[in-house]
Every structure is written in C-alpha cells, then in structure tokens.
C-alpha cells in the first residue's frame, strides 16, 4: 500500500546516492559533536 503510493509519480529513476551522502555527512557531524563534547574534558 505504501510502496504503491510512493512509486506511482516517480517516472524517472531516483538516484539514492545523494541521500546516502547526506546520511554519511550526518553521522560524521554527530561524531564531530561527540568528539567536541569529550575532547576538552
């Protein structure tokens, strides 16, 4: 049901690489914040 509703308007292939890149940067930013929290204690 959900897959059908979401697949219908996507006439062209949707590349997922940009989204994987976003998630990778997100993890990196969280890691940087975690480092900042600990590095100066």
């Amino acid at each position: 049901m959900v897959g059908g509703a979401l697949a219908a308007p996507r006439a062209a292939y949707t590349p997922y690489v940009p989204y994987v890149r976003v998630l990778a940067v997100w993890v990196a930013v969280l890691a940087a914040l975690f480092w900042l929290e600990r590095a100066f204690l």
Partner: protein
C-alpha cells in the same frame, strides 16, 4: 550609536531592500510573483529555505542559550537531515509535478475542498501569529538595548519586509535571503573572532574550550528517555522528525521555496542543502554564545544583562540588597577568573567550577529580586546577553554590521512568511471561493494588497504581543497543535490511497483534539505533540475512511 554604525546599518538594509525591489520586473504575472517562473537555482532556493528558518530569535535568543546552557539545544535539529531525505523522496516530487501554487491546493485534488480549506486556514492562523512573534521578540530586546521606541523598532523590522515582498514577490524574497545569509554568517564569525581576541595573553582557544567543557557548556548528548524533557537525543531524532517533516514538507512558507526551483532535482537539492548545513550552522550559533561566555570569564560582565532590570533594582526599594549582590558578584567573578587562569596554566578545574557555581547562584538571586520587584516570575536576561556584547565590545562598524544582520534576519523570515500568507490567502481562499475567473493582473493586485494587510497585521500583533511577555511560548505551543496534525493529513494523502476526504477532515479535527488533551492533561514536552497529532490523524482518518460511503466512488488523481 556611532555615526559609522548608523551608516553601515542603514546602508546595508537599504541596499538589500533596494536589490529586492529591483526584482519586480520579473514579477508581473502570478507564476512569477508566487513561483518565480520556476527560475531559482537550487542553491539560492536552499539558502532561502535556511534563511526563512534563521530569524532574529536565533541571533539573539539561541546565541544567549549557548551562553547559559551550551550545546544541548542542537539535539533539536538532529532529525532535520532525515526529514529532508524523506521529503525529497516523497512529498517534493508530488508537489512539484502537480503544478500547484500551495501545498493545500494539492489536498483538494486528492481529498476535497473542505480539507484543503481547513488545512490552509490552520496554516494562516499559526503563521500570522508566528509572524507577529518573529517581529516582537527581537523588537522588544532591540528597543530596550538601543533605547528606541518599540513601535518604531517593530516597523523598522516589518516595513522593509512588507515593501520588497509586496512588490517583488518570491524572487525578491529569495535573493534578499541569499544576501542576508551571507551577512549573518560573516557577522557571527566576526563576533566569535572578537570574543577570542578579547582573551588575555596566555589563554588560547583550547583553554577556553576546556573551561566551557568543565562547566558543561560543551555537553551535547542527553540519551535519557524522558518524555517531559525537551532536549534529549530521542526527542531530537524522533519527535522532531515529525515536526520537520510537517514544517518543511507541508508548511507553505517552506514548500513555496522549493516550488520555485527549476526542476524536481533542483527542488530536492535545495532541501538537501539544509540537510548538510543546518546542524553545522546551528553549532556555529551556539558556539558564538559559548565564545562570549569564555570572553566574560576574563572580562567582567554585568550582573544583569538587561539594563532596564538593572536600573529598576538600582533605583528602587531593592537597591541596598542589589548593591550587596553586586559586591558578591564582583567577588565571585574574581574567584572564577583566578580559577580559569589556573586551569589555563595547566591546573585542575575545581576552583573554576566553584567560582562558576557561586556566580550562577548570585545571578539566580538577582533574577529572583527582579521577579519580586516587577511581578514577572518568568524574568530572564538571556536575550540581552549577545546584544549587550555587540554594543559594548565590538569595534565601530562591526556593531552596525551585526545590528543589520539581526534586523535582516527578522526581516527575511517575515518576508518569506508574508509571501506564503499572501499565496495561501489568494490561491486557497480568494481565487478558490470569491473570484475563480479573474485575470492574473487582478490576482496580482489583490496579492500585493493582501501582503500589505498581513504585514500590518504582523506589526500590530508584535506591538500588542510585547505586553504579553510569554506570547512567544504560546505561539510555539499553538504551532505544535497544528504541525503534527497537518503532517498526518499529508501522510494520509500520500501513503494511504483508500483514505477519503471525510476521513482526512475528521482525522484532522481528532488530531488537534488529541494534542489539546496531551497539552492539558500530560507533562509531555511539546515536541512530542507533533507525534500525537500525526498518529491520531492517520489512525482516525483510516478508520473513518473505512466506513465512508464515498470511498468506493473516489479515484485518486494522477493514477
């Protein structure tokens, strides 16, 4: 203020407004006025999305929060990149390809006119009130700090926005946002540099960060699962996910930004720009507050950053008690400074932490004195910290630049909201119900008039709201009534083909009722209200749709 600062402030604001007005030649038709003829490059649309979110409340309030509380608030934004990915895959292509002007216009095709109208009406109410709050919050602070009349300050913020939005439409708004973002980032970096340069010989950035860490200012992650606590990792990644999906996916002020993009991919790219940059930008905002905190470890701050509160206590019945507190404050400051110097020289943090605790205690007692003297139990001087630093510490010229950044941060947020209020008013109400067959020129004329109306309304709310103190909080909580529920309607629309208009309509009302119940009878942090609203709308919507006779007769559009 020094004449140079006046020149810089007025010059920058005039240039940016003038440049916005120059765009009017491209805004002579409805599609140009509301959607920029889909000509905006992705990076400009992306910066406009970010600028609409970065108001003067961020420049003044969030930086102040960084000073007093540190990095914890950044957890609120953890879900934003996830929301952008979800929206890029789901709602963005839906809206872009449907050719709509407003997000709610899509709902009529999918459901019915009453669902569209109710959703758009909720948007108008919550956005109009938040417009007033966006003007009021910085206007109150700036009018006190600069000694300006409150109405004049509100107009100084609202009038430029109304002008270039009225005549230039979304193109003026977008390109003004681009310049303002550049000015804001330059301004914030300048403040951090000045704060660091104000540290004494022998104290470097790493020493400052060690001091900040010692008193918890660098603490970012709170993994406790406490539903009453607004700032935890879980509220930031789960509850805020619903808020951001609703805000960036269904709120017209954001949807209109990416509808101006040149293609679906450009629209996606503009959202993903926020996904990359929002958290680092927010980190910069909070680190600015922390840099100012470190500055004031070595340079004595006032006991109360609010000059009005300081004057009230110094001249009133509490003057002797306040004088004693000031003396204690001076002593505690010296102890903390000595402890900081010892820490910077390689010693431990115990003396510094003790000094900080003493200072915090004196400050809390001063705030209690203010509460007693003014009957304002919620008094806080958090919003006066950064404006005070700007006016007393920055060199001439930079003061004008930072004030321009703060005013323009408010102005461009309001401009984006005014433009979206005008769009929804004209497209979802005037064109839909009153005059469905008039010419583009007529709708354009009405749009400009309505923009002016909402601008005046927002300025009026701002001046009135200033008397109500906690209205900002009321507006935020009011918004949380709607965001989750509106998201639920769009989830029903996109993910549940068998959902009907009646199901969505009843679900929306049920969602808001559930949020009202949660707000009244539970201590749930209001971020979680978004989850309650969205889930309630979807569940009730599905159930009502299941028994709705219209279900069999309705065919979804575009299939």
């Amino acid at each position: 203020m020094h004449p140079v600062d006046w020149i810089v402030l007025i010059g920058l604001m005039s240039w940016i407004v003038y440049d916005g007005l120059k765009r009017t030649r491209h805004s002579t038709e409805l599609s140009g006025y509301f959607l920029a003829n889909r000509s905006i490059p992705w990076w400009a649309a992306g910066l406009s999305v970010m600028a609409t979110q970065l108001s003067a409340i961020t420049m003044i309030g969030t930086t102040g929060q960084g000073y007093t509380d540190g990095m914890r608030f950044i957890q609120f934004y953890f879900a934003l990149p996830l929301a952008m990915v979800i929206l890029s895959v789901t709602l963005v292509p839906f809206f872009y390809k449907s050719g709509v002007y407003t997000a709610y216009e899509y709902l009529e095709g999918r459901f019915d006119a009453k669902t569209r109208t109710l959703t758009s009406l909720l948007f108008l109410i919550s956005r109009a009130m938040s417009c007033g709050a966006i003007i009021s919050a910085p206007a109150v602070v700036l009018s006190l700090v600069l000694g300006w009349n409150l109405t004049a300050t509100s107009l100084a913020i609202g009038a430029p926005a109304v002008l270039y939005t009225m005549f230039g439409g979304v193109q003026a708004v977008t390109w003004t946002d681009v310049k303002t973002m550049a000015l804001i980032v330059v301004g914030m970096v300048a403040v951090i540099v000045v704060a660091i340069l104000g540290l004494p010989e022998g104290v470097g950035v790493t020493d400052g960060l060690r001091m900040a860490a010692a008193v918890g200012r660098l603490r970012t992650f709170d993994f406790s699962f406490d539903i009453t606590n607004q700032y935890t990792f879980w509220s930031g990644t789960i509850a805020a996910l619903f808020l951001f999906c609703s805000y960036f996916g269904t709120d017209q002020s954001q949807v209109q930004r990416y509808l101006t993009a040149r293609s679906v991919d450009d629209a996606r790219q503009s959202l993903l720009m926020s996904a990359y940059w929002k958290i680092p930008l927010q980190a910069l905002v909070l680190l600015l507050g922390i840099a100012v905190f470190i500055f004031y470890v070595f340079n004595k701050p006032p006991l109360l950053f609010s000059e009005v509160a300081d004057r009230k206590l110094s001249e009133g019945a509490a003057a002797p008690a306040y004088a004693a507190l000031n003396a204690e404050f001076g002593q505690a400051f010296e102890e903390r400074r000595a402890g900081a110097a010892a820490l910077a020289a390689g010693g431990d943090a115990a003396a510094f932490k003790a000094g900080e605790a003493k200072l915090a205690d004196v400050h809390a007692r001063a705030r209690a004195l203010v509460a007693q003297a003014t009957d304002d139990g919620a008094f806080t001087d958090v919003n006066y910290i950064i404006p005070t630093f700007i006016l007393t510490t920055l060199p001439v010229g930079l003061i004008g630049l930072l004030l321009a950044a703060i005013f323009l941060a408010a102005t461009d947020s309001i401009a984006g909201e005014l433009n979206s209020l005008s769009t929804a008013s004209v497209i979802d109400f005037y064109r839909r119900w009153a005059q469905p067959t008039a010419s583009d020129a007529h709708y354009l004329h009405v749009s400009r008039f309505i923009t002016g109306f909402w601008g005046l309304f927002a300025c009026g709310v701002a001046v009135w709201a200033a008397e109500l103190g906690s209205l900002i909080e009321v507006v935020n909580r009011f918004g949380s009534f709607f965001y989750g529920s509106i998201l639920g309607v769009f989830v029903l629309a996109v993910a549940f083909p068998k959902a009907t208009g009646n199901g969505a309509f009843v679900g929306l009302i049920a969602g808001m009722a559930c949020v009202a119940w949660a707000a009244t009878f539970t201590t749930m942090a209001f971020l979680w209200h978004n989850v309650v609203g969205a889930v309630a709308v979807v569940v009730v919507g599905i159930l009502v749709s299941a028994i709705d006779p219209a279900r069999q007769a309705r065919a979804e559009p575009g299939r």
